[in-house]
Amino acid sequence: MKSRRWRHGGVPCLALLCGLGLATQGLAACPVDKGFSAVSSPPPLQLAWRPLLQDGTAIAPELIPMARHFLVEVQLCDGAGPSPATLSRIDATMPAHRHGMNYRPRIRQVGAGRFRVEGMMFHMSGDWRLEFELTAGTEVQRLFHDLAIR
């Protein structure tokens, strides 16, 4: 994987995914949109997501309909603004069942730090684990978010 430097406003940002702690400069440049759910992330990185029905209606994560396709919007911010990291993969598994989804989602970048994912489906009720894979240059980090589908 080709390495590259991340920069925000001229500030080197190599340590972003390693969580080495650049000083948080406030989130004014990249407020996570209302209605997005935060995923536990190493500061200053912020990952937030929200599901949408196929018709584009935003819904709360706990209301994702079982066995129906849905979309996901992801927002990546850091202390200085939109994160230069890329959402390189998203997937979901049922740890207790030891299997994942029957569908392969596709990711499209729709703006700085913004991604839209199509083709998600939780085809069974139970506990699911969402996995977000972020890439910046040669650095890769995975973040997880657990949720129950009824």
Partner: protein
């Protein structure tokens, strides 16, 4: 999207359930709510309403078209599409048997290796056939016409039948707005689309379970009390220890996906049925899938499932999770028709042979080890999701105005 009251209630109930501590939990379920807990009621609500809302098939331009429905009815019962002139769609999909045939394996020109699936409520399906080799109803309706082992027909034979029968030709003109003079292959696609349009009208009736579910949500003690105690006990098993609803979910009692539940996939004398693995292969090779030019939805918004398919090793030996509606009319059961009765189906899950399950497969499948009484309760519940089919379900649509009655 228009939500019915019961749907709204179901969403609210689910939301309240998930909200956890904010919901004042009832100390004890009462007789008035059938003895079901708040959590159970929320899950029961998710198995309705019935019938489900339906908004037509955007991939079939004659979906919901009255003239196409009339044409599709005629074609569904027309043996003239088959090679020997004696087999129609209805030969296997018999209206008197829940649009199934009562055989273990389908019998067309040859004996098949799979059980004939019923077509009631087929309009709600995402995948068609036990292996999901079709992603749309018209494509699934076309295949048996030309399958050498089923009807053994062809595009040329079907087109000639349409052109040479004045009644069919008249109904075709009404449905498609032009004479049946297109190329044979295009006419065959339109024949399949008309047959699909008719099948979309086949909706199974409300059942004892549906009445109970609605009574529960409406707090109607009389309606709740009318549901047999054995069915209530079976429902509790279905939702709880049995974990049946993990896959047999929603108003159709199916998540529409695929699973290996330990039913053998060997075919006598020495073959094997790859199930979903082969289905995905056939689907992607089929020009009539939703990524093809026959899809009337120009946006391809209806092709999400096909576009995002993820073939997996575990697909080998997986078969479609069937609906549990109309089971009383659709014995025998399983993809190969190997289980003759509902007690046998329940016994299969009770004594599940874990050694038969795919090593990559579902980990929560365990033998239920049901007592005799529990097994009977589960059967009572399953039977409560069936109702006698009204005669109107198989009534012929009227002859189109301007067409000569047969």
């Amino acid at each position: 999207m228009t939500l019915r009251f019961a749907e709204i209630f179901a969403w609210l109930a689910a939301g309240l359930l998930l909200a956890g501590p904010a919901v004042p939990a009832r100390a004890q379920p009462t007789a008035a709510d059938g003895g079901f807990s708040t959590a159970e009621i929320a899950r029961i609500a998710g198995h309705g309403p019935w019938p489900m809302p339906w908004h037509g098939d955007p991939g079939n331009r004659v979906s919901g078209n009255d003239a196409a429905i009339r044409l599709g009815f005629r074609l569904f019962f027309d043996p003239g599409l088959s090679a020997n002139g004696r087999i129609s769609c209805a030969s296997c999909h018999d209206p008197a048997r829940g649009f199934q045939d009562g055989r273990a394996n389908a019998q067309g020109l040859r004996t098949g290796t799979r059980n004939t699936p019923g077509v009631l409520d087929v309009r709600h399906q995402r995948w068609f056939g036990w292996d999901g080799a079709h992603d749309n109803l018209w494509s699934a309706s076309l295949r048996p016409i030309v399958d050498p082992g089923e009807m053994g027909g062809s595009a040329a034979r079907s087109a000639a039948r349409l052109r040479n029968d004045p009644d069919l030709a008249c109904h075709y003109r009404q449905a498609f707005g032009k004479a049946p003079d297109s190329a044979d292959a295009d006419l065959l696609v339109n024949i399949a689309k008309a047959i699909a349009a008719w099948q979309e009208t086949l909706v199974s009736p409300r059942t004892a379970f549906d009445h109970f579910r609605d009574a529960l949500l409406a707090n109607d003690a009389s309606g709740i009390g009318a549901y047999p105690a054995a069915a209530k006990r079976g429902l509790r098993l279905f939702l709880g220890p049995g974990q049946c609803a993990t896959c047999h979910a929603g108003p159709q009692f199916s998540n529409g996906e695929f699973a290996d539940i330990g039913v053998p996939f060997f075919i006598k004398p020495d073959g094997v049925d790859p199930g979903r693995q082969g289905g995905i292969r056939r689907l992607l090779a089929n020009p009539n899938n939703l990524l093809g030019r026959g899809n009337d939805d120009a946006t391809r918004g209806n092709a999400t499932a096909t576009r995002h398919l993820r073939p997996e090793h575990r697909n080998f030996g997986e078969f479609k999770v069937p609906t549990l509606r109309n089971l009383r009319q659709t014995a025998p059961y399983m993809h190969n028709g190997s289980l003759a009765s509902l007690p046998e189906v329940v016994r299969h899950y009770s004594e599940l042979d874990e050694d038969r399950l795919h090593s990559d497969g579902e980990r929560i499948l365990k033998p239920l080890r049901l007592s005799e009484g529990e097994a009977a309760d589960l059967v009572a519940f399953l039977e409560s999701i069936s109702a006698a089919l009204p005669a109107t379900a198989m009534a012929a649509p009227l002859t189109a105005p301007g067409c000569r009655p047969r």
